[in-house]
Amino acid sequence: MENQPVLSLRKISKSFAGIKVLHEIDLDFYPGEVHCIVGENGAGKSTLIKIISGAYQPDEGSITYQSQILRHNNPHLARQNGINAIYQEIDLIPTLNAAENISLGNEPTRKGGDIDWRAVQKTSDKILGDMGAGLDTTIPVQNLKVAHQQMVAIAKALSMNSKVLILDEPTAVFSGSEINLLFEIIEKLKSQGISIVYISHHLDEIFRIGDRVTVLRDGNLVRSGLVGEFDKNSLIKAMVGRDIDFSLRNKSKITGEIVLEVRDLTSSEVEGVSLTLRSGEIVGMAGLVGAGRTELARLILGADSHSSGELLLKGKKLKSLNPSKALGLGMGMLPESRKEEGLVLVRPMAENIAYSQIQRESRFGFPPWRKVKEEALKMVSAVDIRPNNPNIQVTYMSGGNQQKVVLSKLLAADCDVLILDEPTRGVDVGARMEIYSLMKEVKDRGAAILMISSDLPEILTQSDRVLVMSGGKIAGEFSAAEATEEKVLKLALQIQEESL
């Protein structure tokens, strides 16, 4: 390891819609080192790497690359300079094969300007061979296993003489032997002097491959140092150690009948999941990204089909479920991605609030328009949606208000079994509190809420019970009293590592 960093960040800050997600981060990345960045969901890891790779511009601070300050970074420029990011959404051309993707934009040519296909094949064979990755370079990359697609993306980055390679959760899609292969590749890259930024949840990997590790929490750099200075426990402590305002804690203890029962549910994403939900309770579902929580939510709602297991809603066994049927029985979901699945952005706010209510309360195909309009206006004031013009297109509203619109949609339809997937993601503090009090109100009226969240304080303060999911299974359960951040995070991480 050399002493001069190839990439340095100084006082990097970034805010989105008034919410600060990175606070004055100082970081150095050295050539020939694997520098791991860890933190919970929402700690700021993706924002940080997007700034390094040029996809975002920092609001404050500077980036120094190879002793020069990087101004007006953009992804293309960053790539040309040798900073390459490999995300999970792979940016290859799906219809072209691996060899061509690797050379794309830099194709070797013969005299006369024709592409030298032999050279293209040679280049790709060499790079992949050096990596030790054997895969079919003649078929369109969209037909390759996702793990192989990642390798092609890495190969492409290497072909451009990368000095800094950013790997964002690379092993999320790899199986055991492939992970070993990836680590061998990483070792080779290290010996070539490439600096690797490695984002992962898998603490085992960090201790296996990492040289340096930095812990982010809530957008702040908490600790940074050589891997040898840490052990698993101290890492976890650094990731969570925050003061939780337990005065926010949900104190009510009214729980009634079981309204939702999941028995041994299995699909391609989850395995043998069983849980119960009672009226009047909020069950928090914790876990890391990729643990299968959203997939489980979709299975429960009927948006996806399961291969085995049973779902019982209010005692009724549900067969061939779909969201429409679920709604008829009073179940509704607030999706993880409100812009893509929770809202119709071009339509007015009041209309968005009404969709589920209209579906549920129409008789002979006719919605009760007056009631619908009244209900929408009631929601707007009860939930304090701003701006309060019912005609405004939802796309112009802030994240917090958009989230309130989606929540209103469920409430207007009188849903009493609510699945909330990241209810306060990207929501400002004020709206957050409002959403919490709404949840409490609804719960006190007898509704049952399954709350998926990556925000540990939220899980701990809002839930009556906490379930932890990991690797597609339920890893454990705590009551509100016994749950702590460390316990929850430990469970969330553990099985993930065992599945390696």
């Binding site: 040309q80 940016d91 051309i93 799906p94 072209l96 934009g105 390759l144 996702v146």
Partner: protein
Amino acid sequence: MKTQNKGTSWLSWIGNNSALVAFIILFVLGSIFVPNFFSRQNFSAILYQYAIIGFLALGQLLVILTAGIDLSQGSLVAFTSIVVALAMSKYGILPAVLAGLLATTVLGLINGLLVSRTRIPAFVVTLGMMGIARGLALVLSDAKPVSVEIESFVKFGRANIFGIPVSAIILLAFCIGIGYFLKNRKLGRYIYAVGGSEESARLSGIDVKKIKLFVYAASAFLTAIGGVIWTARLSSGSPIGANNYEMESIAAVIVGGGSLFGGVGSVFGTVIGFLLFGTINSILNLVGISPYWQGTIKGILILLAVALSQLRRLREKKSEVKK
């Protein structure tokens, strides 16, 4: 695909080359059972009939590869014919042809500019151009056909060499040329890249705007060639006619395996596409079935082609190993 056994790989080959298979089957059946099908005269007639559409289909292929579409082709044919016919009486063959090619390509450039630099969908842009080009043709010709006097030009439109229409030979040359271009030139490959994933192409430094500009201009240029041939055959420039030619060219590309979503398609497939239509036409005519059946058969073929490619896409997604 190593896990697939030999049996299924036969089936998937057929699935991937369904147009070719259909063509071969029909060709063989026609040759055996339909009198006069397997004759130089008949093949010549088929090639003659579809040479013009062939040029349009090549242009349409380029556009469709970028996930675009060109609805203006029919009107561009008419426009070309008027320019060529008007210029020919004053300036002679070569300048007239060049003028026609140039003028039409300019219109194609406008298409390309609008598609690449505004958010107007290609569908609407070329729809608008369809009207504009047609209108220009009508204005320039005062809504009347413009006759072409020069004998040699008219002869060229119907000329044969060893029984094969000259226009078909020129088409063949272009097919080979464009096929080579799409396989071996950077610009050709970048067309596939833009269609496959515009975002990824941009990230790789490809000038997406330039590519889009190019394909619409190229489509217009090829259409113009078709227009020149059309003029020769009619021995006049006509501001009306050539209606719905773009539908024919789109159909040929799709039946030949092209996808409206971009990134998929080939010259070979497109050629098979319109040869398939030509073969069916011919068989129907020779057997004495009403030519009105063509539309139905063509429509069903298009549906089958697109259903097959959808099936293929679904199957490929499933065989992808998930986490």
